[in-house]
């Protein structure tokens, strides 16, 4: 397992490790300090005890020496030898007695302070004794003890007089102050002992010690005047004890090392450190185990989320661990399942058309791209078909979206039944479908298109109704008509529109279509200029009262005289104007021009009601009323001389809006007329609500009125209906007198058509009107 500093496990382990190490470290430190303090106190006490032992031992030694030398001094033979200065005897007795108590120095000094004998310095016999002060004390006290230096060595000495029975000499015994004495002292006191001496203020020299030469040197350097003091030398504490001396300075130094004082602790310390190390190890292991209980499941969960991130929802996470963790894992699994379900749903929504359950545009595009790549590599071909239903909008508008949806579903079913499984059928949106035929040439695609047309010619039954749905299909093939998806789709689309315009079912893309389209685009931009440059004009076709024969009004029709192309028929530019919305601008211009003409006629004393065609787009234009109002005002024209004509199908496309708009138009006094009545599947319920004054029967009924009794019946009932609703009835497309006569018999109010006059410009209309008035006057007269 890799150690990462930021991993939970490492943090947990580190936290407990550091905490424990800190606590134990502090405990150890405190213990160490306490122990050092204790050791210090202990050493001081030890030194104090040592000092007492030392003093006691010194006293005992002094006592022993004194006793021994006193015994010697009272020995009769010795006294006699001294009295007689029998040197040989004196010396032998001295050695004998000295050996008894293991004295190191024996001396006999005369009363006049001359050396009689001195075992430490045999050559000094006859010379003056070097320690007169010792004798002075002995003279005063009867005895003298103390430390003396001689020949670089120190002795603890005791001096007493040799009494015979009065003093005849001084006898002195001495014990060497040396390593042996130091060792004895250490045995008793458990302290290290060293003796240092100096004469005449020279440097201190070690006389005897149980400590190393190095330490002796350090102590010797640290020593100053002989006074009781404690020296602290690194690890050692040394108690300096000045000794009673003569003619020189001697100190005893008792020392104890912290090392020794701390020794018991050291053992404990080692044990504690072992305990610390052990507990740290246990801490690490325990922390790792506990952390793993958390981090292992976390790693498993993390691994699972990584898989989910990569889109793999299949594997559930398996986690055993503490309750919290397994609960979390359970939740993760639920989340994973929920995400998987939702993603499936989202994918379906993203790539499926929910209505038809066919692939949608996105999926179709994807498949098309993939198919193109495959075809490119394999050198094969493929084709794209785009199909748009004819008259679907009518079905939707007339029967409602619900019915429209059912129609779309049935169309989808028929399409999928027709194509191979390797092909893709998609609904691109609205009533537009697309097919991707792999390994299919344009001819094959064309025949598939024909099959589809044939299939859709069979009526579709939706509930109680049977509907006819046609379709237009455009075909584009790879690689002939495009090498990428967008181009192919665009071209298939263009072909489809061509088919729709031509109403010929299936059209294979042809590069010329493209040109036509571009021509339309340029036409549109020219149309914009047409208004500015005054290329549009109006022609007027009169309406004539059938019974009286007089002209009752005119229908204004827009004409475009292109400067280079000449006359452009309305069906060439009005549909495109409608598609682009530019028709509103045209309508505004027409209303204004019509109002101007109506005002001109009014002021000339020959008033006429002018009707203007408006499209369904105009009905959706909230500014229409303003445009109307502005035109009437600008030309001071009473509203009654203006009438709007709207086709029945236009009304039915959005009946509610049409009802509302016509109501408002009526409110300002402008008249309204339903055009092309009889073709728009209108419901009588709507007609009833429309605020209109006039109904214009479509020319398709009028054309065959004389020959077809059914049309005659339809026209008759329409006229009756309109009259019953209080509307004026106008027949359009009247081309002969027989028809006019029949209409008159049927009770139609007015007529319009080539039988009366074709559309004329204003001037020509004036001429026509003048000649007709003259003709009527002559016929009457």
């Amino acid at each position: 397992m890799k150690l990462r500093v930021h991993s939970l496990q490492t943090r947990i382990v580190l936290f407990f490790l550091v905490l424990l190490a800190l606590v134990q470290g502090v405990a150890l430190l405190l213990l160490q300090q306490a122990n050092e303090r204790n050791a210090r106190v202990h050493i001081r006490q030890e030194l104090a005890v040592g000092e007492r032992i030392f003093r006691r031992l010194s006293e005992q030694n002094a006592g022993r020496l004194t006793q021994a030398v006193e015994i010697l001094a009272l020995d009769f033979a010795f006294r006699e030898a001294v009295a007689t200065r029998d040197l040989a005897t004196i010396q032998s007795v001295l050695l004998n007695h000295g050996a008894r108590i293991q004295a190191d120095r024996m001396a006999i000094i005369s009363l006049d302070r001359g050396v009689i004998a001195d075992t430490a310095d045999p050559q000094s016999a006859g010379r003056a004794f070097s320690l007169p002060k010792l004798i002075e004390v002995a003279e005063r006290d009867g005895r003298a003890t103390g430390i003396v230096m001689h020949g670089g060595r120190a002795y603890q000495v005791a001096m007493v007089p040799v009494l015979a029975p009065t003093p005849i000499a001084w006898a002195m015994f001495g014990l060497l102050v040396d390593d042996r004495l130091a060792k004895d002292l250490r045995t008793l006191s458990a302290l290290d002992v060293a003796f240092f001496g100096r004469s005449d203020g020279e440097a201190w020299t070690a006389l005897g010690a149980t400590v190393s030469a190095a330490l002796q040197d350090r102590v010797a350097h640290a020593l100053e005047a002989p006074r009781r003091t404690v020296l602290e030398l690194d690890d050692n504490h040394a108690l300096v004890i000045p000794l009673a001396t003569y003619e020189s300075e001697v100190v005893a130094v008792l020392s104890s090392s912290m090392e020794e004082a701390m020794a018991p602790f050291r053992q404990l310390g080692t044990l504690l450190i072992a305990l610390v190390v052990g507990s740290l190890a246990a801490c690490v292991i325990g922390s790792i185990l506990i952390a793993r209980g958390v981090t292992r499941p976390l790693s498993a969960l993390s691994e699972m989320t990584r898989r989910v991130e990569q889109g793999d929802y299949a594997q559930p996470v398996q986690v055993s661990g503490p309750h919290e963790v397994s609960e979390l894992a359970h939740r993760f699994n639920l989340m994973r399942e929920a995400i998987a379900a939702r993603e499936a749903q989202v994918t379906r929504l993203a790539y499926r058309d929910p209505l038809s359950d066919l692939p949608n545009r996105a999926l179709f595009n994807d498949r098309l791209r993939v198919a193109i790549e495959v075809a490119k590599r394999a050198g094969t071909s493929l084709t794209v078909l785009i199909m748009d239903l004819d008259r679907f909008k009518n079905i939707n508008d007339a029967l409602g979206h619900h019915i429209g949806d059912l129609v779309l579903q049935q169309v989808a079913q028929r399409l999928t039944g027709l194509v191979r499984k390797s092909d893709t059928t998609a609904r691109l949106g609205g009533d537009e479908f697309a097919l991707l035929l792999n390994n299919a040439g344009v001819e094959e695609a064309h025949s598939v298109g024909q099959k589809i047309i044939a299939l859709l010619e069979q009526p579709i039954a939706v509930g109680q109704q049977v509907l006819d749905v046609g379709a237009s299909i455009g075909v584009a093939g790879f690689p002939a008509h495009g090498e990428d998806a967008d181009t192919l789709l665009r071209h298939a689309d263009a072909a489809m529109y061509a088919a729709k315009r031509a109403s010929i079912g299936v059209v294979v893309y042809d590069p010329h279509m493209h040109e036509r389209r571009e021509e339309q685009l340029s036409l549109l931009s020219e149309l914009r200029q047409a208004i500015d440059w005054g290329e549009l004009r109006l022609e007027y076709q009169p309406k004539v009262d059938l019974s009286r024969g007089e002209v009752t009004g005119v229908e204004a029709l827009v004409r475009w005289q292109h400067p280079t192309k000449g006359f452009v028929p309305p069906e060439r530019f009005i549909p495109f104007a409608e598609q682009t919305g530019f028709v509103r601008t045209i309508t505004s211009w027409v209303i204004d021009a019509a109002a101007r003409q109506a005002a001109a006629w009014l002021s000339a004393g020959r008033p006429l009601k002018v009707s203007v065609n408006i499209s369904v787009h105009d009905l959706q234009n909230p500014d229409l009323l303003e445009v109307l109002g502005a035109a009437l005002e600008r030309h001071r024209l009473p509203a009654a001389y203006l009438c709007l004509e709207i086709t029945e199908s236009g009304v039915m496309r959005d009946a509610a809006r049409a009802i509302e708009m016509l109501k408002r138009v009526d409110a300002i006094g402008v008249g309204c007329s339903i055009d092309d009545f009889g073709t728009g599947y209108s419901s009588l319920a709507y007609i009833k609500q429309l605020k209109v004054d006039e109904l214009k029967i479509d020319r398709s009924f009028i054309r065959t009125l004389v020959s077809d009794p059914k049309d005659r019946a339809i026209v008759l009932s329409t006229i009756d209906l309109a009259h019953n609703l209080g509307l004026v009835v106008v027949a359009e497309g009247v081309e002969d007198g027989a028809t006019a006569q029949l209409l008159r018999e049927l009770g139609c109010d007015q007529m319009q058509g080539f039988h009366i006059s074709r559309p004329l410009d204003a001037a020509a209309f004036e001429t026509w009107r003048g000649s007709r008035a003259a003709a009527r006057r002559s016929s009457i007269s």
């Binding site: 009769f76 009295a83 009494l163 015979a164 009065t166 005849i168």
Partner: protein, 212 residues
């Protein structure tokens, strides 16, 4: 008895003799007892006086008297009145002797035939110290507790008078004085003494001191 004879002789001689009274004091003008005062006549000593038998007794483990002046040539016996034995000895140059352990009086007295100070001790009882001053002159006396002494019957003439004491801190010569004695005279000394160095007396065994 013999002392009376001597005194008589002195009185006879007194027509031409004088008494010398002496006071010895220490530095602090306190009387010094047991000081020996010796008057040595100029010229040849008079006819040698007859030596006498002197005594230094041991009573209660002490020498009695502690200081005893004797004429040179005198014999001194050391009777022991104690129940314990004594072993009297001297390592002094003037007279070296020792009387091995004895009870009562030793058979032979010790003859002091040389002038000088003889310090005597007992080898058994270290604290016992005694002094025998062996004088070449027959004119000597020992001061009493009041520091006084009297040298009687000194023939008129010139003398050198000196003082000795066991603890004398100065040379004996420094105490010498000249004196022309024709009639009773009085002399006074102030001497400096050093402390006595003496072995501490051992405690008496039970019953031993019952006699006194």
């Amino acid at each position: 008895m013999s002392l009376a004879v001597l005194l008589l002789l002195a009185v006879v001689h007194a027509a031409c003799a004088a008494d010398l009274e002496v006071l010895v004091q220490n530095d602090r003008a306190q009387p010094v007892a047991e000081a020996v005062v010796i008057a040595a006549p100029d010229g040849a000593p008079p006819k040698p006086a007859r030596a006498k038998l002197e005594q230094v007794e041991q009573i209660d483990q002490e020498f009695v008297p502690r200081v005893k002046a004797v004429l040179v040539g005198s014999a001194v016996s050391f009777p022991n009145h104690d129940s314990v034995r004594h072993h009297v000895y001297s390592f002094s140059p003037a007279k070296r002797f020792d009387l091995p352990l004895y009870v009562g009086t030793p058979a032979n007295p010790v003859v002091f035939d040389k002038a000088g100070v003889v310090t005597i001790g007992c080898n058994i009882h270290d604290w016992m110290v005694g002094y025998i001053y062996v004088s070449e002159s027959p004119y000597y006396a020992t001061t009493d507790a009041h520091g006084r002494a009297k040298l009687a019957g000194l023939p008129a003439g010139a003398y050198t008078v000196r003082v000795w004491h066991p603890q004398l801190a100065q040379p004996e010569e420094s105490t010498r004085r000249r004196a022309e004695l024709t009639e009773p005279a009085f002399m006074e000394w102030q001497i400096s003494l050093k402390p006595e160095v003496r072995v501490r007396r051992a405690p008496a065994p039970r019953g031993s001191g019952g006699r006194y």
